[in-house]
């Protein structure tokens, strides 16, 4: 399955690079969510939001592979 993840931040125009579409595998997850979190990190409106978005990129790739097996 391909998963599409789009990040929208409040009160700002969201450029297209804040979305990613990728095959749901641990490796792709790591690469793409890292990019996504990176693109949002400097503009997210507070520290709390930044860490919440960051957490998306911290999910262990093995868990993503595990989840994919259930789809």
């Amino acid at each position: 399955m391909k998963i599409k993840i789009k990040l929208t931040l409040p009160g700002r125009l969201n450029p297209p690079d804040r979305s990613a579409e990728f095959e749901l595998t641990g490796h792709a997850w790591t690469v793409n969510t890292e990019k996504l979190a990176g693109s949002a990190g400097d503009v997210a409106h507070d520290h709390g939001s930044r860490s919440m978005i960051r957490r998306l990129a911290d999910i262990d790739p093995a868990l993503v592979d595990d989840f994919r097996r259930t789809l």
Partner: protein
Amino acid sequence: MDPTVCYSVKRPWTPLPSDRAAMWLASTYAASGCRVRAVAPTEAAGDDCELLLTNYRVAGSDHNYPVIEIGGDGDTRSMIRLALGRIHGLSPFYQRGDTRAGRTFSGLLRPLGKLLSSHKTPLPAGSDVPDAPSNLGGRRVVLRVNVDWDSRGLDILERWCERFELRPTLAIAGSEILASQQRVRRFIAATNCDIASHSWSHYVVMSSHGRRRQRMEIADNHDYLRQLTGREVRGFVAPFIKYDRRTFELLQECGYQWFIRGWLLHPLPLQQSSLTDLGVSFRFSRGWQDRLLARLGHSDIALQLHLRDLVRYEHLLEHNIRLLLQHGARIIDCETFFRETTGGQ
């Protein structure tokens, strides 16, 4: 205060892949200590929401929290599969595994199913198994055993309960134990184990039946278990983990508080309902014994076993239970897991 993550999905009752992905993501946040709330529709997320996970399209910038929108290409395929399943459900042989004609029909279809499944995209090689953490103190392993009747399995479980002081959850389908009621009653009295309902008939796909049959499966088994054990039953595990909206409505009517459905890292409240999905989070696939301890490094795990698995993998499972306890993991039942994670009474 813990940050609050909200999630909102289109089909909480019979989820499609994007719904499941959103719920799984929400459970990863819950596992890392966030408070997760189910909201519907997305506009109701409220001021305390710090992140919204959804598969709805969220319009513009009229919200004051970040939104992660999840979509996927598997939804259409799943919709078609569901529709075909519904048509197949109307055929006279569907769900007749207890008749010779039904068994023959299912057997004839099996090669076709295998052929179709070979078209699936192969899974990636998978990520490396990380090293197991040396101390798992505080991590919980939720042990639930579904009762597909096998007295040897129950003997093994009783021995483990005594030796390791386990208190598992037994998910019981009434029709399975009718002939062995006294044995089960003795087991429950001896181990004081937790009891969950597993429908009356066991081999039944709840979501393909109407309200009347579902009520029979849920309410009859509920009454039966209440009489058998003398206590309230608060958890439900649907056979084949298939649910629909009616199943959840009936579960709420009967006073259930938790159920098992999704692949989740942490219990998650079900959208538009008072029920909590405890989830399953460990797959007994090849090499599982190498992954078990490492997996606990990330979160608690909820296991699902059947009595027949206990007979088949007795020594391997016993060895791993011993290993888990040596590493400081707590092996608990579903009810305790539910109470500890949701603060339920």
